[in-house]
C-alpha cells in the first residue's frame, strides 16, 4: 500500500490553503507519499473530528487552526509525527512552520514611515484566533512604538482574513476618520478590498492613502499592490520536509521560520515619488 500523509485544513479551495497543499504535494511526491486531505468548514473546523485513518498515516500536517489543540496534543503524544503550518501549540511544542510575521510587519512599517513618509497608520487585523493574525497584530503594535508613533485603538480594524469584513470595518472608520494616510492589511486580499473601498469613498491610492498587504499573489501583482511576499508554496514544502524528517526519526523541537521580502509596487506611492523626483 502507498505510504500516506494526512492533511487537515480549513477550506482547501482558498488561495492560501491551495498554495500550501501544492507545496506539500511536491515534496511528498518526491518521497513517494500520497496525500489524504481532510478539508472542513472554517467555522466548525476546530471542533470537528477527523475522518483520516490516523493509524495508517505516516504523519500529519495541520494548516492553521483547522483542528483543536486538544486533538493535536493527543495525537502528538500518541506518537504520530505532526507538522503545523501557521499555528503554535506548546507543552509539548509541536514542530511548526510559520512565515516570519514580525519580519514582514517590520519591513512594512519601516517602508511606510521611513521611505514613504506616512505616519497615520491603520491596521486591518487578520483572524485573532490564528497564530499569523496574532503575531502580525503584535508586531504592528511593536513597530509603531519603535517608530515613536502613537497607538490608536480606533485604527486597529477587524478583518479576520475575510475581505468583506475588512471592507465593512474600513467603511465604518471612514464615517468618522479620514485623516489616516496609510493602511497595512494582515493579508493582501483584504488590502485589495481596502483599495476598492477607498476609491469608492473618493480617496486616491496612493496619493491620499498608501496601502500595503501581507502576502503576495497574481491579484496583488495585477493591481500594483505593494506586498510582503511570503512564498506560501514554500511554507508547504518546508512543512513537508519537517514532517518527513520526523517520519525518518528526527526529534524536532521548535519552529521553522520562513523569511519574507517586500515587493514595492504602485500602491504605496514610493515608485511614483521616485519617478516624480
Amino acid at each position: 500500500m502507498a505510504r500516506q500523509i494526512g492533511i487537515i485544513t480549513n477550506d482547501q479551495t482558498k488561495v492560501f490553503q491551495r498554495s500550501v497543499i501544492a507545496g506539500i504535494q511536491i515534496i511528498a511526491e518526491q518521497a513517494d507519499y500520497e496525500l489524504l486531505v481532510d478539508s472542513r468548514d472554517a467555522a466548525q473546523a476546530p471542533h470537528q473530528q477527523t475522518d483520516l485513518p490516523l493509524g495508517r498515516l505516516a504523519g500529519l500536517i495541520v494548516i492553521a487552526n483547522a483542528t483543536s489543540d486538544a486533538f493535536l496534543h493527543e495525537a502528538y503524544a500518541g506518537g504520530i509525527p505532526i507538522s503545523l503550518i501557521s499555528h503554535r501549540v506548546s507543552d509539548p511544542p509541536v514542530p511548526t512552520v510559520i512565515p516570519n510575521n514580525a519580519q514582514g510587519i517590520a519591513k512594512m512599517v519601516e517602508h511606510l514611515v521611513v521611505t514613504c513618509g506616512r505616519e497615520q497608520l491603520v491596521f486591518i487585523n487578520g483572524d485573532l484566533n490564528q497564530n499569523d493574525g496574532i503575531e502580525r497584530r503584535d508586531a504592528f503594535l511593536q513597530e509603531l512604538t519603535r517608530h515613536n508613533l502613537p497607538i490608536d485603538p480606533q485604527r486597529l480594524l477587524e478583518g479576520r482574513f475575510i475581505p468583506a469584513v475588512a471592507a465593512d470595518s474600513l467603511r465604518a472608520l471612514l464615517a468618522t476618520d479620514t485623516s489616516f494616510d496609510a493602511i497595512i492589511a494582515a493579508d493582501y486580499l483584504m488590502a485589495l478590498e481596502a483599495i476598492a473601498v477607498l476609491k469608492d469613498h473618493g480617496l486616491r491610492v496612493p496619493q491620499d492613502v498608501a496601502v500595503i498587504g501581507f502576502g503576495d499573489g497574481p491579484e496583488a501583482r495585477d493591481h500594483g499592490l505593494t506586498a510582503i511576499a511570503a512564498d506560501v508554496a514554500e511554507l508547504g514544502k518546508r512543512s513537508a520536509r519537517q514532517l518527513l524528517g520526523q517520519i525518518n526519526g528526527l526529534n524536532i523541537r521548535g519552529t521553522t521560520l520562513l523569511s519574507v521580502s517586500l515587493e514595492i509596487r504602485e500602491s504605496c506611492g514610493c515608485s511614483l515619488q521616485n519617478a516624480n523626483s
Partner: protein, 386 residues
C-alpha cells in the same frame, strides 16, 4: 611547550584551504594563477583542485584569456557555494536560534525554540531538536556545525561555567559530533557576534571591531582582523567606581527594570508600563516623558563611560552597540557619542565608525562564519584595508 611538525594530512588540509580561499575571494581563478598566488608547485595545485572538483566545491567554468605572452587559454575555476550547507546555532537563556546557510553565509532556513522562562538546566534534547529542525531542511550535504554558547569554552572545547544554563564541563563537541558525524566548532556567543559583524557587516576599511553587547548582562566582543584574533568577555562584574555598583548592577536588564520602577514611582503619570521593554523607554523619551528620559539619561551616562574605556584601550576602527539596548535606536547612539566627547577627544571619535546592531540572526550567523573559517578557511576576518 612542544612544537610539532605538521603532518602530511594537516599540510594537505592547509593547502586545500589556501586554494579554496583564493578562488572564493576572487584572488585567483586558474591553475597557473593559483600556483603563483600560493607558491605551491603546479602539479600540487592541479592535484588539490582535482580533489576540490570531485568534492563539488569547485567547478570549471569556461576559459579565460591567454597570457600576454600567448599560450593556451586557462580553464577558469569557480567556487560553488551551494555544494554544502552549514548549521549555525546560538544557545542562550532566552532560547535556541539556528540558521542553515550555504558556503557564502547566505541564509537558507531558520529554526528557533524560545523559552518563556530561562531553564535552570538546559536540555540537550532541545539542542538536538533545533539542529534536527534544520537537518530536515537540508538541500545539500551538511559540512559542519557551528555552536555559540554563553559560557567559557575551554581549549579542549568543553563548555564550562555557563551558570544560566547549568552547564559544567559539558563535552558538547563530542556529543554533537557523535550524533551528526560532522565536525563541530564551538565558541562563546559574544565572540561570535563580533565575528559575524566583522565578516558580514563592518565597513571595508575596518581592520578591527569592538561590540558592546547589553542584554541581561554586559559583554564585549572584539575582532582584530589582521591577526585573526577574536574574543568575547563578560564585563558585568566590573565596577566603574571601586566603591560603587558593578556594570550589571548599572546596565544589566534587571538594573534597568529597577531604574524604571524607581522612575514610575517618581513620575506616576509616566508612559512607561509596568512590564517595560526598551522600545517603551524609546517611545516615552521621544514623547518627552520625564520618567523615560530619566532612565534614558542613566543608560547614556554609563554607556558613554564604557565606550570611552573601550576606545582608549582597544582603539577599534568600528564600534557597535548590540543587544536589547540597541532597541533604543539612533537617538541613543547620538546621545552617547555626545557624552563620550566629554571623555575622548573629538578627533579620536571622528576616526571610528559607530553603529547599532539589531540583527536577530547575528549570533547564529557568527557561528556559521566561525565554522566556515575553521573548516574551509574561506571566511576572512583578516585586515580588510589590505
Amino acid at each position: 611547550m612542544r612544537i610539532k611538525k605538521a603532518t602530511r594530512r594537516q599540510l594537505r588540509e592547509h593547502n586545500l584551504q589556501l586554494i579554496l580561499r583564493a578562488v572564493h575571494a576572487g584572488i585567483a581563478d586558474s591553475r597557473a594563477a593559483l600556483a603563483q598566488e600560493t607558491g605551491l608547485a603546479k602539479p600540487t595545485v592541479s592535484n588539490l583542485i582535482g580533489e576540490l572538483i570531485d568534492e563539488g566545491l569547485l567547478v570549471e567554468a569556461g576559459r579565460g584569456q591567454s597570457a600576454k605572452t600567448g599560450g593556451k587559454r586557462p580553464r577558469l575555476l569557480e567556487f560553488v557555494p551551494v555544494a554544502r550547507q552549514v548549521i549555525g546555532l546560538s544557545i542562550s537563556e532566552y532560547g535556541l536560534h539556528g540558521v542553515l546557510s550555504d558556503l557564502n553565509g547566505t541564509l537558507q532556513a531558520e529554526h528557533i525554540l524560545r523559552y518563556d522562562d530561562p531553564p535552570t538546566q538546559l536540555d540537550l534534547n532541545d539542542v538536538a531538536g533545533v539542529i534536527n529542525g534544520l537537518v530536515a531542511q537540508l538541500d545539500a550535504p551538511l559540512l559542519c556545525l557551528g555552536i555559540g554558547v554563553p559560557g567559557t569554552v575551554e581549549a579542549d572545547e568543553s563548555v564550562t561555567f555557563a551558570p544560566h544554563l547549568g552547564w559544567q564541563a559539558l563535552p558538547l563537541v563530542e556529543e554533537l559530533g557523535d550524533t551528526y558525524d560532522v565536525p563541530v566548532y564551538i565558541e562563546n556567543n559574544t565572540a561570535l557576534s563580533a565575528v559575524a559583524q566583522f565578516a558580514f557587516q563592518a565597513s571595508n576599511q575596518a581592520s578591527s571591531l569592538a561590540s558592546l553587547i547589553v542584554n541581561s548582562t554586559v559583554e564585549i566582543g572584539y575582532v582584530l582582523g589582521d591577526t585573526d584574533f577574536y574574543s568575547g568577555r563578560n564585563l558585568g562584574a566590573l565596577r566603574p567606581d571601586p566603591a560603587g555598583q558593578t556594570l550589571d548592577e548599572l546596565l544589566g536588564w534587571s538594573a534597568i527594570k529597577a531604574q524604571v520602577a524607581q522612575a514610575r514611582r517618581a513620575y506616576p503619570d509616566t508612559l512607561l508600563p509596568e512590564r517595560v521593554r526598551f522600545l517603551d523607554i524609546r517611545y516615552g523619551t521621544a514623547q518627552g516623558d520625564a520618567a523615560s528620559q530619566a532612565v534614558h539619561n542613566h543608560i547614556e551616562d554609563v554607556l558613554a563611560q564604557l565606550l570611552a574605556w573601550i576606545i582608549a584601550l582597544l582603539r577599534p576602527d568600528h564600534l557597535s552597540i548590540a543587544g536589547g539596548v540597541a532597541d533604543l535606536g539612533d537617538y541613543l547612539l547620538a546621545r552617547v557619542l555626545d557624552r563620550a566627547a566629554d571623555y575622548i577627544p573629538p578627533q579620536t571619535l571622528d576616526k571610528i565608525h559607530f553603529s547599532l546592531v539589531t540583527d536577530p540572526h547575528l549570533d547564529a550567523l557568527g557561528a556559521v562564519a566561525y565554522a566556515l573559517q575553521q573548516d574551509l578557511g574561506i571566511i576572512q576576518w583578516q585586515d580588510k584595508s589590505a
